[in-house]
Chain length 61, copies 6
C-alpha cells in the first residue's frame, strides 16, 4: 500500500517502464512517507484500438 | 478528465470499439458538460478465462 | 458485464449522474450488444484536492 | 454488483483462476449478502515487465 | 501483490468488511499461492446516486 | 493519457497530495515522453475500515 495503476496505450520499452516504476515509487516514498517495499505499481496497457481521447481511437489518429 | 474505464471480456471488433468510445464520450460531454478532448476512454479486456460472473469463468460457460 | 468506471472530481448533481449512467449504458447496449441489465456503472469521485492534470491539483487551479 | 478486480502479474493457470473466481464470489455472497449472479470478477494481468514492488520490475527480480 | 479492488455501493458494516477482506485474502493465498501479507484489498464505495445497473441509479430503484 | 490512479487509505494532507501529483506527473513526462498536460492523476482514498493488508483491516491494526 498504496497501489499505483498506470493506464496507458501499448508501446513503451522495458527501459521506459523500468525508469517509470522506480520514479513513481520514489515519489510515493517522498510524499506519502511509506516504505518503498509497500508500494506496488501495475502498468495496465491496452492496444491503440482500445484507447481513445476526444471520442477517437488512438489507432484512428 | 474524467476518465472512463471499460472492463470487458476480449472479443469485440474495432468497429464496435470505435462506436463505443464515440458514444461514451458524447455521453460525458452531454451530461457532465466537459469538452470532448478532456475525456479519455480505455477498454481493459481480459481473456474469457480471466472473467467471471456468478463464480463461473466465461470460458466455462 | 461489462463494467464501466468513471473517475471524476466531485461536484456533479444527481440529475447529471442520472443522465450519464443512462446514456453510458445505452452506448454499451448499442455497440457491444449486451443486455442493459448486464451493464454496471460506478462513478468514483474524488475531492478536488485529490485530482490533478498537468501536475496541478484541481483545487489549486 | 459488486465488482471485484484482481490486479496481478501474468502466469497463473486456468485451474488457479477457476478456483479463485469461485472462492472470491463465495466470499462476497457470504459477507455482503448479495446473490452470486450479481458478482463479477475480472483478473487484470500484466506481464512481469509491467508490474513492480519496491520500485523494481518483477522481470528484474 | 496481487491487489484486489472491490467496487460497491456504500452501506456495509465494519463487521461485513472485516469478514470480506479476510475471506478474499484467504482465497488469493489458497488459489494463487501467494503469502497473505502480499495481498492488499481496497473497498471502493460510492453513494447509491453514483452506482447503477441497467442504466438506473441505485438511489432510483 | 496516460492516467495514474493511486489507491490509498485516507489521511494524507493537501501538501502531501500536492507534492505527490507533481512528482508522479514529472515521472510520466520523463520516462514515457508525454506532455505534462496529458497526464491525469486521481487519488482514490478509502477509510481505514475499507483497506486491508494480509487479511486485516487497517482500522484493526
Amino acid at each position: 500500500m498504496p497501489e499505483i495503476m498506470v493506464f496507458a496505450a501499448e508501446g513503451r520499452t522495458v527501459e521506459q517502464k523500468r525508469g517509470l516504476v522506480r520514479d513513481l515509487t520514489d515519489a510515493m516514498v517522498k510524499n506519502f512517507g511509506v516504505p518503498a517495499d509497500s508500494v506496488t505499481v501495475q502498468i495496465v496497457e491496452s492496444p491503440k484500438d482500445s484507447k481513445a481521447k476526444g471520442g477517437v481511437l488512438f489507432s484512428d489518429r
